[in-house]
Symmetry: C2
Subunit: 427 residues, 2 copies
């Protein structure tokens, strides 16, 4: 253990940033618990403050004292989806970070924790660098969070398993609906740059099927899965659907909101009227049904009519419920909590900054087909902020299969994370 | 008990029709169980057949023998969302019903069960009348099903409580998301003519709030609820949102897909490009995000900019996942099963036709605020087919409050049906 006498007494602040998830409050509570057991108990962290709406609240002095919150309230907060402290889409530049640092000095903050995606990690990095330059000992730590699962260094990211659970369960049930009343069904799933969440829809297929070598038309739905990592071609898409529709009289499709053509232009961003742009320059993709509707219209126009009638085509866009549905994955709840606790303990081990990354230590292969295998297990490690900051992880090639499917390897990767899925009976 | 010797031995058929629900297979299994325990055990119903895709399958002789299905498979089927036998949107006219009757004669069917909404009840009625005319003893029974909750004579309809549970939980979580990242959020909920499912979104509000007399801006979300029973006016809508947005910096809105203007023209149907029409003449409302997107665009244009920027507006359309989400209401599961069992027993009590209706026998007021009260209880009764057939029940006036809210009476009506809802912690 690092000598505690080397740590400067002061306050700690915790903030949440970016799109909320079902478990980001687990991480918040984890940091509070870790601080109370560690730095606060040691007399180093005097008060533990939450920032209201992230760095935006911090700069205004809008803080919420969590030092003495009753454990019952913390436990209840941890089970609440959304960012309990409020979140922000602000992406601080140098001037903004200067104000953040000033606020830290003003409130005697020496320990700064920020829960979010790669932009939040970048904020930690900037604030830390500025603190170092001005010779102010401010320890800055990032706790990972994103349903997109696109942080570097992480086996997976807190928030992703719960969103993947929702997508898998929604697709399981929706495929049964599609068998009941056959037609063409498109589901649009979140994921601006990374296809992990879209790929998770493959968990909807029954486990006793193979995934790599079987033609799409013979699998359970979704039969076609389009991730943003593979260039999306409208003609090829229509041909894919036509082939399965001709064979089965129905087709179940999952498409990432972030699909893009071979020039890298997002298909969705081109189609959304009045699209809004956030402070990060990201065009709004969620909160609109435009992509699904346009793809549906395309299929109605292009597909061969059956008995003189255009095929029945419907499109649903899963929307924000993917990231906030209350039935979170048990694995995700635990890991999000522990990620926060781990971050809070880092200063006690001498760390001045860093991010927490999840490492898989047991493959969880036993979750697949119930075969004898290794139980799922994970651990945590500290990584440099700059290894995470402003970088995006994509689906590795080995997780993809062809241009419209995922591999068995991906199923084995994802299945242990999402918790138990229901079993359905087919007649 | 009616003398069994009066019942003509033959086969029984069961079909499912219209939009699937999370519990329509409970009703299917209920009919099978009721027949096996009753008519089949008595030697009257020789075989119990399922129709594949409703009357469409029956006319083609596409039947599935369920007589000896193992109880384990039945129990698993009952927990599976969707119509296990397949469903159909066919609305039989006289000529079609003639073919249905011919198929019944060909397969020696004497007991006909049809699970569905008011159209299915009408099919039962037509087939029964034709059988009577041709002096063929065919007993026809309807088992209620619809997420819209719009069947006459029923306190509520199997399928509704589970869909209401999904809508309530989605709105609970989405409201927390809306607090985290404030903005204007529109959620579009199923319900072509009846606003029950849209109204169920009010269960998302915390229970310790009043609902009748409190200004919308001060309640939890959804702050604005628009049912199809109240004429929808775009100007009034924009003004409602502006008022709450000005007060809170955010606004959480739920809108029925079936909202219509004062001339009775659906707002949604007007907006959807390439809308498809089914055999019942119903314009497609679900399976598209158009209504939400158009309402969102309207708000972006009309609302007062804040700091020179249009307000952040997002729209989600909950889509088919509302009717098939696997986490069904426990009350709904039980009642759907028992409705089927009850229908299967009706011939043993001398009934020649009829529909099953749910009667509430215990108010369930104890579910509200945990106050001392009456536990929820329900029972079943036989009603005439024509009392249900082709009729639509709407939200009673006492369930509405103003033009954009629901009453406390509605909350008391709906809350006992949906099963336990999570409790969230707010900072």
């Amino acid at each position: 253990m690092f000598p505690i006498s080397d740590l400067i007494p002061g306050n700690a602040v915790i903030g949440q940033s970016g799109g909320p998830t079902a478990v980001i409050n687990q991480s918040l509570v984890g940091v509070v618990e870790g601080l109370r057991l560690g730095l606060h108990a040691a007399g180093v962290a005097k008060r533990v403050f939450g920032m209201r709406h992230g760095v935006r609240g911090l700069t205004k002095g809008d803080l919420y004292d969590m030092t003495d919150m009753h454990q019952d309230r913390l436990d209840s907060l941890a089970m609440t989806p959304s960012a309990g402290l409020g979140s922000t889409r602000d992406k601080p530049d140098a001037a903004y970070c200067e104000r953040v640092l000033e606020a830290c000095k003003k409130h005697d903050v020496r320990y700064f924790f920020y829960i979010g995606g790669n932009d939040s990690s970048d904020t930690c990095r900037l604030v830390r660098e500025m603190a170092v330059s001005s010779d102010y000992d401010l320890r800055c730590f990032h706790v990972p969070k994103t349903v997109d699962n696109d942080l570097m260094e992480n086996d997976h990211t807190p928030g992703f398993p719960s969103a993947a659970r929702f997508v898998a369960m929604a697709c399981m049930a929706d495929f049964m609906d599609n068998i009941s009343l056959p037609g063409i069904k498109i589901n649009v799933v979140m994921g601006r740059h990374a296809g992990f969440l879209t790929a998770a829809s493959a968990l909807a297929r029954r486990r006793d099927r193979e995934f790599d070598d079987v033609p799409s038309a013979t699998t359970d739905g979704p039969q076609l899965i389009y991730c943003p990592e593979v260039p999306f071609d409208l003609d090829r898409f229509a041909a894919d659907v036509e082939a399965i529709y001709a064979a089965k009289g129905r087709c179940h499709i999952v498409v990432s909101e972030g699909i893009q053509d071979k020039e890298g232009t997002p298909i969705g961003a081109k189609l959304i009227k009045n699209a809004q742009v956030d402070a990060h320059g990201n065009v709004q993709l969620s909160g609109s049904g435009a992509l699904g509707d346009q793809l549906g219209d395309l299929l109605k126009e292009r597909l061969t009519p059956v008995g003189g009638k255009a095929p029945r085509v419907r499109a649903d866009t899963f929307g924000y419920v993917q990231r906030c549905w209350p039935d979170a994955s048990p694995v995700d709840r635990l890991e999000a909590r522990r990620s926060g606790q781990y971050a809070a303990m880092l200063p006690l081990h001498g760390a001045r900054d860093g991010s927490v990354a999840i490492v898989r230590t047991g493959s969880g292969s036993e979750a697949y087909l119930g075969a004898a295998g290794e139980p799922y297990a994970s651990d945590y490690k500290r990584v440099d902020l700059k290894a995470i900051a402003a970088k995006t992880r994509h689906m590795p090639k080995e997780f993809l299969s062809g241009h419209n499917n995922v591999s068995k390897k991906f199923i084995e990767y994802c299945l242990p994370l999402v918790g138990p899925l229901p079993g359905f009976e087919r007649l």
